[in-house]
């Protein structure tokens, strides 16, 4: 018994010294959906965190400490995310929490973080109410759902100045909610909604509703579709020579390269709202996109850019914090005003949101067969083309 105690004591010492020797590193547990239906996005984020981890460590880590990331699989289930974070806070005493993909998991974590008074950085969850609950310790870097189209609306307001709009959308949750948002925004901006039509996903022939759109002659045609329908719609718009001032897509199907591959020349000049794009001129964005593509043969989605930038925000905050006590880290979060590959980050309280980052969302336009960021002008990779040529005059 006595020997046992001796061993235990010496073990304690050893571990104490061992800990001391490793004090030059800091580890973060990151909850992410690595299995289950959201695994694809979890995977993109994991890869992006790892790129940031390597970059930061190559430049001396955080306050001279090596960053070690440990990914914890939440399977996309809020209750698992919650228990992961409880362990990180209670057992590992992690000073700050960040990560997760879905809104529901982020919401579960936010509740725990607020209760334990540990700062939590929401990276991708976009549901509005996460930062509407007056949580003091929850910060969100990504724009909320309600602000996805702000960039697009400002482009309309400043450049196109449309008086009327036609909205076509897929008859799914995604399509219906996107269309409803746009109806509200359009009315607020003083546009008349001339046509508002839904279609069943998988439709072959859009010409009947497009003929109707043509007869109504709107200034803007706004479509909420997945990629194949997006391509068919633009092809048939070209076919019918519907001359609108602007053809616009609500992200999703319009924002990915497959849209251009399938719609070919009919995709030219089409604009779409997006959160981030690989060629936006934020410092480090292109470099990150290239590095990611080199490693994984594909460009990252905006989720990747969010995750990549999140680690830089954490580094920035921890380096500025007076101590790593919750209150000091929180104060450092509040004072954040930095630029990342995902865009400018500043946590403010306004419009009923607390600690929310408000940023301009981007607008992309297809120019010469490539997506280019055109709005806001200060982040543009190319000058927007407006007014767009009529179908008849295109070669």
């Amino acid at each position: 018994m006595r020997r046992l105690r001796l061993i235990a004591v010496s073990l304690c010492f050893i571990s104490f010294f061992a800990f001391d020797a490793l004090a030059r590193s800091i580890s973060f547990g990151i909850p992410l959906p690595l299995t289950g239906t959201n695994a694809k996005f979890g995977e993109i984020e994991k890869k992006s965190y790892e790129i940031a981890e390597n970059e930061i460590n190559a430049k001396g880590g955080i306050k001279g400490m090596k960053v070690v990331l440990e990914f914890e699989d939440s399977q996309g289930k809020p209750e698992i995310s919650r228990s992961i974070v409880e362990r990180l806070i209670d057992v590992k005493k992690q000073p700050v929490i960040f990560g997760e993909y879905s809104s529901s998991s982020s919401k579960a974590i936010a509740a725990v973080a607020e209760e334990r008074k540990v700062p939590y950085l929401v990276v991708t969850g976009a549901t509005d109410d996460i930062t509407q609950q007056n949580y003091k310790y929850v910060f969100r870097m990504n724009p909320t759902n309600a602000f996805y189209a702000t960039g697009f609306m400002s482009f309309l307001d400043k450049i196109v100045k449309p008086k009327s709009i036609a909205i076509l959308y897929e008859s799914s949750d995604f399509g219906t909610s996107g269309a409803e948002d746009m109806v509200k925004q359009a009315q607020k901006a003083g546009m008349k909604v001339l046509v508002r039509e839904q279609y069943e996903k998988g439709a072959v022939d859009f010409k009947p509703i497009l003929s109707k759109v043509k007869a109504a002659n709107p200034d803007v045609i706004y479509m909420v579709s997945y990629v194949m329908d997006a391509a068919l719609l633009m092809r048939q718009i070209k076919e019918l020579r519907i001359e609108s001032k602007l053809y616009a897509g609500g992200a999703a199907g319009f924002a990915i390269p497959e849209f251009i591959d399938n719609a070919k020349d009919a995709s030219e000049y089409v604009v779409t709202a997006t959160l981030w794009s690989p060629q936006v001129s934020y410092p480090g964005a292109k470099e990150f996109a290239k590095k990611y593509k080199k490693l994984y043969q594909d460009y990252p989605s905006y989720h990747g850019a969010e995750a990549y930038s999140a680690l830089y925000i954490i580094k920035n905050v921890l380096e500025r914090a007076r101590s790593w006590k919750s209150a000091d880290i929180r104060a450092a979060f509040k004072a954040t005003d930095m630029m990342t590959a995902f865009g400018p980050i500043k946590f403010v309280d306004k419009l009923g949101y607390t600690n929310q980052n408000f940023m301009d969302t981007l607008v992309m336009q297809v120019i010469k067969g490539n997506h280019e960021t055109i709005w806001p002008a200060k982040y543009a990779s190319a000058k927007y083309i407006y007014p767009i040529p009529k179908w008849k005059d295109r070669k």
Partner: protein, 307 residues
């Protein structure tokens, strides 16, 4: 004027769509007429043909319209094989359920679409041909035209080829010996057997031709549409509805039924709303069953008897 333009453009769309629908239904009606079964794997066989056209285009750059000559014979053989090794043996088995063969086609549909998912993944595919959005315009031909109508090149091309195939089938069925034997089998299999028609061979041929027809439809569809493994169901539905409107098993009825459905769907989309198109399709299906149980074919027949 705008209203007239809208109406005419809708009519054109409906007509073109209807012609393609008719080709899908034609094979199904033929099979139904001869074998007395509904082939519920029809759309999935079309999906197979579309994958053939897709890969030929992607790997060798072969135009989807040329693939008709490759996909149709390939699926003709496939169809004959299905009839010989799957459907004929099942026909002989005594069972409580009367329609074992129909159930077999359902199974076949599932196998095909799942196989396509495993082999080619669930991704959406398409053959982005250069002429995909080319069209002819009324104002280009007639400068002073008060209204503007357009005629899509690939749609028109597909429509014309569909018409040619339909006429070829009609000639085959009415002028050749084999065609006549097929019709004899369709009208009365027992009598045909007594009169020396090899009924089993005719059934094999019919299933083969039915598959080849829908293979043509697949190749004509892919330049204007896209492709994914579970696309079959949608077109099986279309084929089934048209077969019922046309009068079960009547090929003439199927052509007219196809045009009716195409125009009806386009009109629904323009004047009621595109979200209603599937509802409209179902409504016309039920209406046909209730008010015109023999389909369009029964009207044609009545006319003939009346003469």
């Amino acid at each position: 004027m705008a209203q007239l333009e809208l109406f005419l453009q809708t009519l054109i769309s409906g007509f073109l769509l209807g012609g393609l629908y008719a080709l899908i239904a034609l094979g199904m009606a033929l099979i139904m007429g001869v074998m007395r079964i509904i082939n519920l794997a029809h759309g999935d066989i079309m999906m197979m043909a579309m994958y053939i056209a897709f890969w030929l285009f992607t790997l060798f750059g072969i135009d989807p319209y040329v693939s008709v000559f490759i996909a149709a014979p390939a699926l003709f053989l496939f169809g004959m094989g299905v009839q010989k090794y799957l459907l004929t043996p099942v026909m002989k088995v005594e069972s409580i359920l009367p329609h074992n063969q129909v159930i077999l086609t359902v199974g076949l549909a599932m196998v095909l679409s799942n196989l396509a998912t495993v082999l080619f993944t669930g991704n959406y595919r398409s053959t982005p041909v250069n002429y995909a959005s080319n069209a002819w315009y009324l104002t280009d031909i007639w400068k002073g035209s008060p209204i503007e109508l357009s005629l899509s090149m690939p749609w028109t091309l597909s429509f014309v080829i569909a018409i040619v195939i339909t006429i070829a089938l009609w000639l085959f069925l009415s002028k050749t010996d084999i065609g006549k034997s097929i019709r004899a089998t369709s009208q009365d299999p027992d009598a045909a057997l007594i009169l020396g028609v090899n009924v089993n061979r005719m059934r094999m041929l019919t299933f083969g031709i039915g598959c080849a027809l829908v293979a043509c439809a697949g190749c004509l569809f892919i330049p204007i549409y896209y492709l994914y493994p579970s696309l079959g169901k949608q077109f099986t539905n279309v084929g089934f509805v048209i077969t019922v409107i046309g009068g079960m098993g009547s090929t003439n009825g199927a052509v007219i039924g196809g045009l009716i459905l195409g125009i009806f769907e386009s009109m629904t989309a323009t004047y009621i709303g595109m979200g209603w198109a599937p509802v409209g399709r179902f409504a016309i299906f039920v209406a046909a069953l209730v008010f015109l149980p023999g389909g369009v074919a029964s009207i044609i027949r009545r006319r003939k008897l009346g003469k």
